[in-house]
Amino acid sequence: MTRSRFVCLGPLRRAAGERASKREHEVDYLLLQVLNGVQLGLLMFLLAAGLTLTFGIMDLVNLAHGSLYMMGAYIAWTLIGWTDSFMLGVLLALPATFLLGVVVEAAVMRRLYGRDHLDQVLATFGLILFFNELVRAVWGPAGKSISVPAFLARTVEILPGVPYPAYRFAIIVVGAAVAALLAWLVARTRLGMLIRAGASNRRMIGALGVNIELLFSLVFGLGAVFAGLAGLMAAPLSSVKIGMGDDILIVAFVIIVIGGIGSIKGAFVAAMVVGQIDIVGRAFLPDFLKTFLSTSAASSAAPAISQVLVYIVMAGVLVWRPTGLFGQRT
């Protein structure tokens, strides 16, 4: 009797152990995918923050926001080459993109504030073409690449035995820090107060004697810095190339619509949601579809479905809350 018990227990225990370790692996895998979603969401938040500010406060539809993302990456590539240091190049690229934003605002955007959205779309679409051609003339048609700095070109263990690319982790840290800074700026400073006031009622703050021109110029420059930061941080993951901001801009627009135009908090929440949706669509949807579709049908349907998932969510949010999750204007 005792002996037979011994005989059974061995394999049983081993099986239980295997099951536990498999579950652990699944938890690790889930955590990795959540982190991937957060990292993606933070990058998109940086892009969406500037977009929602310009749209909400200046009532300006800026299609060329993606061009600032691209310019951030190209400027960083050049400065990293000159200084021979990733950090120095990045730190110099930020004020440079701010300056670029201010110049673009003064040269083009200022003329568009009073006009209707169609004119703005037309003019800023022209800016996209301008920047794409400018980049081709200055940097050539081939893409450039920025290497991950040596101290980040490795993996970190976020949990024992679970490696995560250090550079992606750094993006999460920087993205979160910038989000916190922005939250503080909007909620606690005078500039933030004006920004919030501008988002709720633009005409009124003008009437109250606020220097609108300076405010707009600052906000646009700030948006440019965030877009440039997103572009240069995304560059080592991908490559610096013409039109790199055009694809991601559409998602950024979806984010600000979901979050509510003009709301930084909304942009943050929506970016996180969109980041997770994207990862869920890629990481789990194919396996889920395979439970009732053939393998080949599932693997070609999954990317198509995950592509529209974001838009379905946007449509749902708009039905439920026509001004977006945190939208203020009616």
Binding site: L32, N36, Q39, A142, G143, P165, Y167, S238, S300, A302
Partner: protein, 392 residues
């Protein structure tokens, strides 16, 4: 009075009067590729090779000068179709060549070959449909059928004893063909497969995490141009380059290597042409290309060079007169030219019967990243669809 003006004599005079002028009209060749946006570097490589072919031919085919009309498909099927239509209807070119992308080619095929009754020479894209049921007497390829290169890779992986594979590619016509190709020949276990959004997905973190969890013996990818750069970088950053080797088709080449750099060292790929092919015409092409542009040419360029040389061979045989389509088709079908990959014959569906090689990513003696041939994967390979083609 009016009727007399356009009487037979006037028409005859006009026709005869025009003929000498006609003979001197240059041969017009249309060339469609991507010259703007993120994949412009591929188009540039093709254009440089076409220009080099023109230079090597002295600007003449069969004694008649020729000109190339370049059009940019902007990496979009609808634009590619529009530009093809413009080349055929407005420019009235004798041949339309080029086409990087299978989806662009599929959208443009009928416009050129049927509605325009014009010869189309694909210098890259080789969708399975055109090799099979959509095959066309006006269509010729100087590249391959999409499935073939990954099939060669699959054969090689069998001999190398790679036991399990994870497949990844973009979700469009060529991506599906490529993954189907490696599935057809690879005998090990395929433990995962992901199609990613094309062309807008540039982040592969979710898929790489899946690969890390699946622990395959190898990853097989098809990510052309800019996407190949992204994938290789992210594969290396995830640390998977230390545990899971990468096998690829069309993802690591002369266009992507300047950006992938040493991350790509040691990876293996399959190709029908490698820049170290030992024939004379290839040595001249590679040397002149490098002298002019300071970089290696890619297969995109080599296939484009071949497309021009193929047209030149027909023009040579017909003394520069490409007006009789039947004669032109018959001459093209002979493939009577010095291809950079060495001689090849056309199959019944007008796709080449050719060898495929395995290439390794290495540094050349000057320290420049490039690829070199290390093995022949398959010889005189025919594609898997030609029997479905009604042409015999």
């Amino acid at each position: 009075m009016k009727s007399k003006l356009f009487g037979p004599a006037t028409i005859a005079a006009l026709v005869f009067g025009l003929q000498p002028v006609m003979a001197q009209t240059p041969i017009k060749i249309g060339f469609i590729s991507t010259f703007s946006g993120s994949q412009a570097a591929i188009g540039e490589d093709m254009r440089r090779s076409v220009e080099l072919a023109k230079e090597h031919l002295g600007g003449k085919m069969g004694g008649v000068p020729f000109e190339i009309v370049y059009e940019d498909d902007q990496f979009k099927p609808d634009v590619g179709k529009q530009k093809s239509e413009k080349l055929v209807q407005q420019d009235k070119v004798a041949v339309v060549a080029g086409y990087i992308w299978s989806n662009v080619l599929l959208a443009s095929l009928k416009t050129v070959t049927d509605e325009g009754d014009t010869i189309l020479i694909s210098a890259n894209a080789g969708p399975s449909q055109i090799a099979g049921e959509l095959c066309n007497k006006n269509f010729f390829s100087t590249s391959w059928q999409n499935d073939q290169t990954p099939m060669a890779m699959g054969e090689y992986l069998n001999t190398k004893g790679v036991k399990s594979l994870y497949l990844m590619g973009p979700n469009y016509a060529a991506g599906k063909d490529m993954l189907a190709g490696v599935r057809r020949t690879y005998k090990g276990q395929i433990i995962g497969e992901d199609f990613t959004k094309w062309p807008d997905q540039l982040d592969f973190s979710a898929e790489l995490a899946k690969i890390a969890a699946a622990k395959p013996d190898g990853i097989f990818i098809f990510y052309p141009g800019a996407h190949g750069v992204q994938f290789v970088k992210q594969w290396a950053q995830s640390g998977l380059n230390k545990t899971v080797p990468l096998y690829q088709v069309f993802s690591i080449d002369a266009i992507t290597l300047p950006q992938q750099g040493e991350l790509a060292l040691g990876t293996l790929g399959a190709q029908e042409w490698v820049n170290d092919q030992p024939n004379e015409q290839n040595k001249r092409y590679v040397a002149d290309f490098k002298k002019k542009h300071g970089v290696y040419p890619s297969y995109y360029g080599a296939q484009s060079y071949d497309a021009i040389m193929l047209i030149a061979s027909a023009a040579e045989a017909l003394k520069g007169d490409l007006s009789n389509k039947d004669k032109v088709r018959a001459e093209l079908k002979k493939a009577n030219f010095k291809s950079l990959r060495g001689d090849f014959k056309y199959n019944t569906n007008n796709f080449p019967i050719e060898n495929f090689y395995i290439q390794e990513t290495v540094k050349d003696p000057q320290g420049v990243m490039t690829v070199k041939t290390i093995a022949t994967a398959v010889k005189d390979a025919k594609d898997s669809y030609y029997e479905k083609c009604p042409m015999k």
